[in-house]
């Protein structure tokens, strides 16, 4: 079950929507160990279809994202159709079928951050990295995502790089944040 798939965004229209690039290289390498790991996760939840979302969380935690093959193995274990799994994966914004960057950047676009200028900060990140929201830079270093309210409204606008929180970020401060990770 090990394969490298060059996904044609024509076929995977969701990718086209999310990335807009010509070709997305998705490396999928489902070794036996990985299949075993998915099976183990599914077993943890008794292979119950109603635990699908918990299973997907665990799987995404394990693999960083949810490639088609992972969803397929999950569907098989939970005795539900893979279309249903995909339907759930695409419904929830927390689940991703695209690997995130080495340093995933999340910009809070909750209301508090919005009124304190999160939009301009987001624009600056997009400009600086030359990618859109949901995309990963070609070197795989950064990806941009938006999230709604991390609950640190006192620090708004808030930006997360990985787990680290940057508060009161101004558009001018974007470059400094990135430079820290560019080294």
């Amino acid at each position: 079950m090990s394969q490298n798939i060059k996904v044609n965004p024509e076929v995977y229209s969701f990718m086209e929507k999310k990335t807009g690039t010509d070709n997305v290289e998705v490396k999928v390498n489902l070794s036996k160990e990985k299949v075993d790991k998915i099976n183990e996760i599914c077993n943890m939840f008794d292979n119950e279809p109603r635990e699908l979302i918990n299973v997907l969380h665990e799987a995404q935690h394990e693999f960083g994202y949810l490639p088609a093959e992972v969803q397929d193995v999950i569907a098989h274990n939970l005795h539900i159709s893979v279309a249903q799994v995909y339907g759930v994966v695409t419904f929830y914004s927390y689940f991703s079928m695209i690997p995130k960057g080495e340093h995933p950047i999340s910009i809070c676009t909750g209301t508090a951050c919005y009124v304190r200028g999160a939009e301009k900060v987001l624009e600056e990140f997009k400009k600086e990295l030359n990618i859109k929201v949901g995309e990963t830079t070609s070197d795989g270093k950064f990806s941009i995502n938006c999230l709604r309210c991390v609950g640190a409204c006192g620090l708004s606008p808030v930006v997360l790089v990985g787990e680290r929180v940057f508060g009161r970020v101004s558009p001018d401060g974007v470059k400094a944040i990135l430079d820290e990770y560019r080294k």
Partner: protein, 592 residues
């Protein structure tokens, strides 16, 4: 009983009734869009998503969707005041604003429920234009998905998952981009789709349509070097008339044959003929297995499963690959016809098989895929070249400017046009097994079967079981229509708990009369029962009602095949099945 007032009319209905149905009882028709029901089959789709059927309930803050709101004592309902009408029209305009405006060239034009509503609501402007959701068009051997036209009524999703348990489709994405699609928005061809076509038979718009082969047929008909012959499936004659305004259940066999001749087919044959042939082969196989079983052979696979429905064949190849040696190996009537036509008949008229074009008129969408299967090709030449649906035939007749209603009746041509009542009833659920019983009884017992009607095999329940007395030996027969029902029986077989000797399975609810290629029934299940009744009427009208008594069949065996189950019969009339994994196969234009 609950009393309520709808548009100033008092009406009494039972508790649990929806406003929509109560209104119907009061003679008030409320427009609907996503709501869909085949009540006799217990099939209902009411996500409450389109919001077209909203009505005003006095005392309620917002409008109520009538299709899912249950009545309450003393409710006062207005179904068409200005608030309701404005809401409905606005919502409809919104739906249309996210729908392509290519009605003129849409396959569904004239039959489109969205279009009808736009007419009914007198929509003359589209004030809410904006971005439209755009998706890739996907063409499979049987079905075209043009989901730009999807209005998220979820009927197809319901059919595919709840009724058919195929699981090829699901709602995917969220919000404005949500749509019904296969996993990973892959091609339907790579999904576990069985091509049963139930999705498109309930689709209100042109989002799901069949692949149209009419133009290929026109090309063949206009090619003088080709001999073009046609076979018509049993269920077609019971439904074709509907497309020309005739009452459901009107048999139009003679007019259909005339029309096909007018269209220029060189020979008009009947799939009923090959249905009789199927009985000879499948019945023989059943008896062989049964005899072996009774003789104490523990290896023999019972129950035997019918195999004439291609949607069903796809289904078990996908979902029960471990059981592929259980179904009968007999080909479907369509393919038996093709095999005989391109050998026996081609020889008879002295035409090379490459110059003989075999067309089939089917109530079915899966037949398009079936005739393209590799097993049914000789050196790349298909036994059946093109399969078109009842709807496509009707459109073809209209396109050719044929005055169908005033056509004289005509008879099928010989030799592949002669059939018995047993072949006709293939179109109904339970029909194949009834036909098989008529023949198997006589062959097994050596006695004449006086009453050929097996009432206990007929009906519309999704799963039926009946006992048939074979002169002291009781045969347990199971019947399922709809793949969800089939799955239940198959799970029993897999678990080794099946009590049946033989099971008939049809993919579509009602059998072929409810096929994915039939005229749209728009949720009126009465249409299905009338078609079924018409099929039984045709059977009654036949003088010969047992397949093995069909003179052309007898002649075919004598002249060409030898015995049922002979080596030649096997090579031409039997097939094999291939397990299909439901695992994701990423056929991305060969880019793997």
């Amino acid at each position: 009983m609950i009393e309520l007032t709808i548009d100033k009319k008092k009406v009494q209905v039972e508790k649990g009734t929806t406003i929509l149905k109560a209104a119907r009882k009061a003679g008030v028709e409320i427009p609907t869009l996503c709501h869909f029901e085949l009540c006799d089959m217990g099939i209902e789709n009411k996500p409450g998503g389109c919001r077209i059927c909203v009505v005003e309930v006095e005392g309620r803050r917002n409008l109520a969707p009538s299709c899912i709101t249950e009545v309450q004592e003393g409710m006062v309902i207005n179904t068409h005041n200005i608030r309701v009408l404005n809401a409905r029209t606005t919502v409809l305009k919104l739906i249309i604003s996210d729908h392509p405006f290519d009605c003129l060239v849409c396959a569904r034009s004239g039959q489109c429920e969205l279009q009808s509503l736009a007419t009914q609501f007198n929509i003359r402007s589209l004030p809410y234009e904006g971005e439209q959701s755009r998706y890739r068009k996907d063409t499979s051997p049987s079905i075209i998905r043009d989901i730009d036209k999807c209005i998220m009524c979820r009927r197809c999703e319901m059919m595919c998952n709840e009724v058919q348990t195929v699981g090829a489709l699901s709602a995917v994405n969220r919000g404005f981009m949500s749509v019904v699609a296969p996993a990973f928005e892959m091609n339907l061809e790579d999904s576990p789709c069985t091509y049963c076509g139930q999705c498109l038979s309930v689709c209100p718009t042109g989002a799901l349509t069949e692949v149209d082969h009419t133009n290929d047929i026109i090309r063949a008909l206009s090619d003088s070097s080709k001999t073009v012959i046609v076979q018509t499936a049993p269920a077609v004659r019971a439904a074709l008339g509907e497309e020309f305004g005739l009452q459901p259940g009107t048999l139009v066999t003679g007019k259909m044959v005339s029309a096909l001749k007018e269209l220029g087919f060189d020979y008009v044959f009947d799939t009923d003929f090959s249905a009789d042939l199927t009985i000879m082969e499948e019945g023989t196989e059943l008896l062989q297995r049964l005899k072996a079983y009774l003789a104490g052979d523990t290896e023999v696979r019972l129950p035997i499963l019918t195999s004439c429905c291609p949607g069903w064949v796809n289904f078990f190849e996908h979902n029960f690959p471990d059981l592929i040696d259980v179904p009968s190996t007999a080909k479907s009537p369509q393919q038996m016809f093709g095999a005989i036509a391109k050998t026996y008949f081609a020889d008879k008229i002295g035409v090379n098989r490459k110059d003989l074009i075999v067309v089939s008129i089917m109530p079915c969408i899966a037949k398009k895929y079936e005739c393209q299967r590799d097993e049914f090709k000789v050196d790349g030449n298909q036994d059946v070249d093109y399969s078109i649906s009842t709807r496509e035939l009707a459109a073809f007749i209209k396109e050719a400017n044929i005055d169908f209603l005033n056509l004289p009746d005509a008879d099928f041509d010989d030799p592949l046009g002669e059939s018995t009542g047993a072949g006709v009833i293939f179109g109904n659920t339970g029909g194949v097994i009834e036909a098989a019983c008529r023949t198997a009884y006589e062959i097994y017992t050596g006695k004449k079967l006086e009453n050929v009607v097996f009432d206990n095999l007929r009906g519309m329940e999704g799963i039926r079981s009946a006992k048939v007395d074979f002169d002291g030996i009781e045969l347990n027969i199971g019947i399922a229509h709809g793949l969800g029902n089939a799955r239940k029986l198959l799970d029993e077989v897999r678990a080794g708990t099946s009590k049946y000797h033989a099971i008939e399975i049809m993919a579509c609810p009602g059998g072929c009369i409810g096929g994915g290629g039939q005229p749209y029934h728009h949720g009126n299940s009465e249409i299905l029962s009338k078609r079924a009744a018409a099929i039984y009427t045709e059977d009654e009208r036949k003088t010969i009602r047992k397949s093995h008594e069909n003179p052309s069949i007898i002649k075919l065996y004598k002249e060409f095949l030898g015995e049922p189950g002979s080596h030649k019969a096997h090579s031409l009339l039997h097939t094999e099945y291939f397990p299909k994994s439901n695992e994701v196969t990423l056929h991305l234009n060969g880019e793997i």
